[in-house]
Amino acid sequence: MSFLALEKLAKVWPDGTAAVRGVDLSIAQGEFIVLLGPSGCGKTTTLRMIAGLETPTSGRITLAGREITRLPAAERDIGMVFQFYALYPHLTVAENIAFPLECAGVPRDERMAAARKLAEQLELTALLDSRPRALSGGDQQRVALARAMARKPAVWLMDEPLGTLDASRRADMCDFIRAQQLEHAVPTVYVTHDQEEAMRLADRVVVMNGGEVLQVGAPEQVYAEPASLFVARFVGSPGMNLIEGFSRASQGVTLLESAGVALVKCPKLVREGPVVIGVRPEHVAPDPAGALRGRVALDAFMGSHRYLHVDTGCGRVVALGAADRPSAVGEDIGLSIDPSGVRLFDSDAGSRLA
């Protein structure tokens, strides 16, 4: 049963550019949905239409069985968290957090107790009586987030709320948002360009590009089974290796070749012809006996592992290497591909073959 539903939602700006081209989406009660895509893909516009800050050109939005497409923002019972969120400088941190509850008519003691509880979860207790001016930028943003999440509306909408935070803080805040959302079961639509945030938070990820929804699915599904080349490249850090190649049937298996090298034998059968071979770095391993040979262009240490960027005859390929096995730049190495990780795409349409 969908709680929030978007039907053929579209937005065309007055200058004729289509920001959102017919988005269909259905969100269940308590679900965490992340709209993921590059800048300008229409994700923020979609969110703002749900919030009532933009009027759709066409399409319908229903919330809890009631059509809200043209309802003013204030009447929708929606909580919105922005990337830049100003605090009231004349109120203390505690009063700031409690402020939305005051509007909702919650008595003062309850308000303050709620603010204290949120502050505790965010390790802001020491700052409760300070004024926003005295806080660092990161702390201000965390207070803003606490304030935005103090009220429990029908839906939370979040527009890159962590964009301005330091990377090391961001992980903690992700945990906080997820914990709050799970505790109160408020359905949430969250917009980000950061696929890691999306993977962390989402029940379902909605990958968007060019105003259209490209794929909807659980994070691990979108990651493992991308429906198109765009999703394969965009999801994952680094994205999937995509190698222009050729498939040929050979003794009941598909032989994948590129630039004259037999890369891998694939048990799945696909039509013969040109294909794009997609394989994630963790399915490419340095292997002295590997058929694919190349020169290391960059050895990027990541802490628990490393990514080897290798220039091969069929283009740049990224392989996952062990943290304690560095490679020298310029070194010649071999790579082998794990057949279970191979995904095939149509080289013209970019759609998934197998």
Binding site: P38, S39, G40, S136, G137, G138, D166, A167, S168, A171, D175, R178, A179, L182, H193, D194, Q195, E196, M199, R200, A218, P219, E220, Y223, F234, V235, G236, S237, P238, G239, R280, P281, E282, A297, L298, A300, F301, M302, G303, S304, H305, Y307, H309, L320, A323, V329
Partner: protein
């Protein structure tokens, strides 16, 4: 000879000390990343090297010469700002040529054109050359900003969080691209960031800067495995290192609620902060039970958030490992993977 050497550099703004006794040296082809949280003094450090700030005490040496009091123009250094500093009214070509038109650089028009072409080709922005800067996307702008820096062929590059304002995907691509570019140009780089991935994957050496002080200097691997302080440990790695308060009870570390964590050496302190990396947490064989609160799927790995003995612990396991929320398991961390900070 080092390209850059800082000796005891201090700088205060009013009562606030931004840099305290900073010492730093950068080799002639070295890529040094200065890592620290917002407000650690990273930007002040770069501005002092560039000559936009004068240190209260200490010395700035460039290629052996004392430059502490010379003007920014005399230093022949390029600085890429976090906030794009392109001139919006000028085209990309004019923006790129601007540094070459500075007085005292007397280059022939042909030479300027060639250098602009060279930089544009290197950064793959040739097709943007005649576009006004204000019509560029964020990623394009930052490419041009870096082009402006390389076009002069300076002796040293300073980069102030150049990727912070970009989309995550673009950030990841430029990280790789710029690291290779730096190697090709054979010019030393001082790169300032708060981003752990940039520090780990790009640096020859990492300088950890906290509250205006250099806390640790070393290769990314050294800092990752042996961080000098809990703050350095938290700043590096994603998810960052787990830090858990423990008490020693004979030969056992006890977690905040009294549950056993693991074996402790007999000469270990009574109270300590234990640090261990998420990838070193095994999900079985431990001495006490933990509850799985959240499971996150981060591509090749799975991050499991555990409630363990009153502490929150992150574990990173291969995505093939099966774990479910609300499952109870017995995590363990080998003693050799634990760092101990006495309390």
């Amino acid at each position: 000879m080092s390209a850059l050497e800082l000796v005891g550099v201090s700088k205060s703004f009013g009562a606030r000390a931004a840099l305290a006794e900073v010492a730093l040296s950068v080799g002639e082809r070295e890529f040094v990343v200065v890592l620290g949280p917002t407000g650690a003094g990273k930007t002040t450090l770069l501005r002092t090297i560039a000559g936009l700030e004068t240190p209260d005490r200490g010395e700035v040496r460039l290629f052996g010469a004392d430059c502490t009091h010379s003007s920014p123009a005399a230093r022949d250094i390029a600085l890429v700002f976090q906030n794009f500093s392109l001139y919006p009214g000028k085209t990309v070509r004019e923006n790129l040529a601007f540094p070459l038109l500075a007085p005292g650089r007397e280059l022939a028009a042909g030479e300027i054109g060639e250098r602009v072409q060279w930089a544009a080709k290197l950064l793959r922005i040739e097709r943007l050359l005649d576009r006004p800067a204000r019509k560029l996307s964020g990623g394009e702008m930052q490419r041009v900003a870096i082009g402006r820096a390389i076009v002069r062929r300076p002796r040293l590059f300073l980069m102030d969080e150049p990727l912070t304002n970009l989309d995550a995907k673009l950030r990841e691509e430029l990280r790789v691209e710029l690291r290779e570019l730096a190697r090709r140009l054979e010019t030393p780089v001082v790169w300032v960031t708060h981003d752990s991935a940039e520090a780990l994957s790009m640096a020859d050496r990492v300088v950890a800067l906290f509250a205006g002080r250099v806390v640790q200097v070393g290769t990314p691997r050294e800092l990752y495995l042996r961080p000098a302080t809990p703050a350095v440990a938290r700043q590096l790695g994603s998810p960052p290192m787990n830090l858990v308060e423990v008490l020693r009870d004979g030969a056992v570390w006890r977690l905040p609620n009294g549950d056993a964590f693991g074996a402790a050496a007999s000469d270990a302190p009574q109270r300590a902060l234990l640090g261990f990396r998420p990838e070193h947490v095994r999900l079985e064989g431990g001495a006490s039970e933990a509850l799985v609160e959240v499971v996150e799927h981060l591509g090749p790995q799975r991050v499991v958030v555990l409630r363990w003995g009153g502490a929150t612990v992150h574990a990173a396991v291969a995505s093939s490992v099966d774990v479910a929320v609300h499952q109870r398991l017995r995590p363990a961390v080998a003693a050799e993977h634990c760092l101990i900070w006495p309390r």
